[in-house]
Symmetry: C2
Subunit: 465 residues, 2 copies
């Protein structure tokens, strides 16, 4: 059995390793266009923040280890350009020292598309200038870090503009501030963190203001130019307020492009496979595409959402790993289905922990629920216990069914792992009244007697009627 | 409607307040034998640890506030000695300045017994000596703190013996070490923390050894004596090794009795009410006793366990508050049932967080399950992220049904709120295979891609077959 995998990141390498564990006789070939496999992509901002750490710290396993220990035919520098579903071949071009070297073609019995996602590079004049950089691959991370470390033109990087205020933009903001770089964040929409309840988004916004981050929400970027003033920063980012048309020129030594990502599904489209939500490859609960010999997993593929039971595209690391394993099982004849994702996501921004799972009110409305929402403030420690911080909780339930639909939390202490309780409740399709009865942990150093989630649930019950 | 409540602690005051919120016209009388109501009992060890905090910091609400704001007839210094279920009266004696003052009798339509639990005082010669103290009531807490602060006989407290190594004993151990007091802990059984997986108990034990706590597991206490050597500590605790009969004399300036608690159910027994497990008052899911006008809630009452569906007695603060509310609803005609407890408990001991929910292997066997267990080590942060600590997880599942039965965790970072995810899974009666599919949170500062609970579940699945 020939199992070919396109892409050697989380989903691809999880599938490769697990299929060899399932069946040592399976012939596994991984075709990865870059030189890096199996690294902690989400760790890049934290690594960039620390000048004393090597980017290679993030490599979990080297290509050579996969080759020798796992007996995987792992081919880096191999870019697949075409899938032939009928002839069951993939073909492309290999690279050596960064140059196209020779074409290749591989026959498969089962194929996994694990091509991941790519950064969205906005169509802005000057986006290709030196010093304007996205962060997606380990190569991107190395480029940003060496740009900061190299003190280009003997001038240290003092000012940076970040285009986009999503998770990666915010994590990079913290990383650059750690490196004593002044940060200016720009985004087109006025609304800060639209995927969070506005009360919670305001708390995050205030944290950035408190840490002297300069926010430009509601600004388009007109262009990026070389700075003619040689005594100043090398770049100028020209922004225009969308409401007032006011022009703001932001000097920058570097520009981080963090405008989101899109699924790398072009070869799947060209192969005639069914494409689902957000341009991701459509898969069933077995991770199978519309072709019965071809699977897709990771950031390039869609998933079912456990709250809506509808398709969604939420590219996150755990799902990629889990889907890779499931594909390996299915390829090896062990029928494995994945129920789906709850959209659980957490991030850190300076002293704040930010967490969400499930649906916002807006998403709940889009999927035909009748949402009720409560936003409360609770504490991270018991009454009278020193060091207690505010925990903000937003909880959404459905008036028609009483079901819990989503939870979001923000605070400086005790937020991040609490969200998992709500995520499990979403998987179990719990009603808010049942979630409110859960026996959650209590000890004075760790929370109030009524956990913030229980207080929110108790309040939400009243609104659900 | 006359609603009488015996006991003004968590369950009693929750019931009193909620019943007035439900129905302002209800006549609520609370009879509390001490002078304190509504305080954070679990906060006492942390308060004792800090010489600059007043014990009154732990009072959430004063008796006067309940009287004026909530219009509750709250009578402190009132000890109920008798319940007459037929005549629907309670009677007892009131105290003034610590002395018996006069008898009282109150008529009720509905009665709540919320008498709590009392410390078990072992029958040891010398247990009544000055300096030998339990910790249960706020008065106990004040006595311990003022004993330490008073520097009795101009000698500071330098050495303390703690009898018992449960949650309270361990929390007091940390508190006394904070006050620079040498601690000696003594218990009869050889097994350290028998309600935890031995691998996890060993981690806790090592933390105590690392912090120079002196442990005597497997020792009975023969007697406590005044020390004849006036230049030494005032007390001597005479311990005997149960296996070797070796005698160890421990000098102590104070002795903390932390040998566990027992339900205060004597008046319920004398009133002929049905008594359940561990001597607690038996209640149904409405918190009703065997008498249809009498409820019981809090540490004096039993509860259903959500994993076994059988009765248990696990006296903890959240359940007491929740049960108080439920009684208030039921008394006011709002039918409210409580599913039960999962036995979720957490505590901190020095740098360690310790958490459990559900059943141990031993408990699972007792309740007729066919348990399989896995013990793993994972990390509190992602690969390559600095500051990562070991997280130890024990997970138990049932081979017959595949159900998750219990989880325990120990570690220095990221343990305590993670247990809530498992607690919710127990309430939802999830199978381990389904729990393993939950979309738990991931970001590098907060954990590995596969949350330690998911890694444990993935491993346990293999053992469940």
């Amino acid at each position: 059995m020939k199992f070919v995998i396109i892409g050697g990141d989380a989903a691809g390498m999880s599938a490769a390793s697990k299929s060899k564990r399932n069946n040592p006789n399976i012939e596994v070939t991984v075709l990865e266009k870059s030189q890096d496999v199996s690294y902690s992509a989400c760790g890049m901002p934290y690594n960039i923040a620390d000048p004393n750490r090597s980017m290679d710290d993030l490599i979990v396993r080297t290509a050579d280890e996969f080759r020798s220990k796992n007996r995987i035919n792992l081919l880096t520098g191999h870019r697949v350009d075409k899938i032939d579903p009928v002839g069951k071949t993939v073909s492309g071009i290999s690279f050596e020292n960064g140059k196209e070297s020779q074409t290749f073609s591989y026959q498969f019995d089962k194929l996994l598309i694990a091509t991941g996602a790519a950064p969205i590079i906005p169509n802005i004049y000057g986006v290709n200038l030196s010093g304007v950089m996205p962060l997606k691959s380990l190569e991107d991370g190395r480029a940003i870090k060496s740009f900061i470390d190299s003190n280009l033109n003997s001038k240290p990087v003092k000012k940076a503009v970040i285009i986009g205020i999503g998770y990666i933009g915010l994590e990079m903001c913290e990383a650059l501030k750690e490196r004593s770089i002044d940060v200016f964040m720009v985004k087109p929409s006025e609304q800060f963190l639209p995927s969070f309840a506005s009360e919670l988004a305001d708390v995050v916004k205030q944290e950035l203001v408190d840490k002297s981050v300069n926010l430009y929400c509601g600004y388009n970027i007109d262009k990026i130019e070389q700075n003619s003033n040689l005594n100043s920063s090398s770049l100028v980012v020209v922004c225009k307020n969308r409401a007032s048309n006011e022009i703001v020129n932001l000097d920058a030594d570097m520009v981080i492009v963090a405008s989101g990502v899109k699924p790398c599904s072009q070869i799947a489209i060209e192969a005639g496979l069914e494409i689902g939500i957000s341009g991701a490859v459509a898969v069933d609960k077995n991770l199978k595409t519309s072709d019965e010999n071809i699977y897709a997993a990771g950031d390039c593929a869609d998933a079912f959402h456990v709250v809506t039971d509808k398709k969604c595209w939420i590219p996150l690391a755990l799902r990629a790993n889990r889907a890779g394993w499931a594909v390996a099982d299915n390829v090896c004849g062990i029928n494995t289905t994945l129920p789906g994702v709850a959209g659980t996501a957490v991030f850190k921004i300076f002293d704040l922990q930010v967490a969400r799972t499930g649906l916002t009110v807006k998403e709940a409305l889009e999927f035909g629920f009748e949402p009720a929402q409560i936003v409360i403030q609770s504490r991270s420690k018991a009454h009278g216990h020193p060091g207690s911080k505010t925990i903000h909780v937003s909880m959404v339930g459905d008036k028609k069914t009483g079901l819990l639909l989503g939870v979001q939390m923000v605070g400086k202490d005790g937020v991040v792992h609490r969200i998992n309780a709500a995520a499990v409740a979403l998987h179990a399709k719990m009603r808010v009244v049942d979630f409110a009865q859960c026996d959650l942990a209590y000890a004075p150093p760790f929370g109030p007697v009524w956990d913030p989630l229980l207080t929110a649930a108790n309040q939400l019950i009243k609104k659900l009627g």
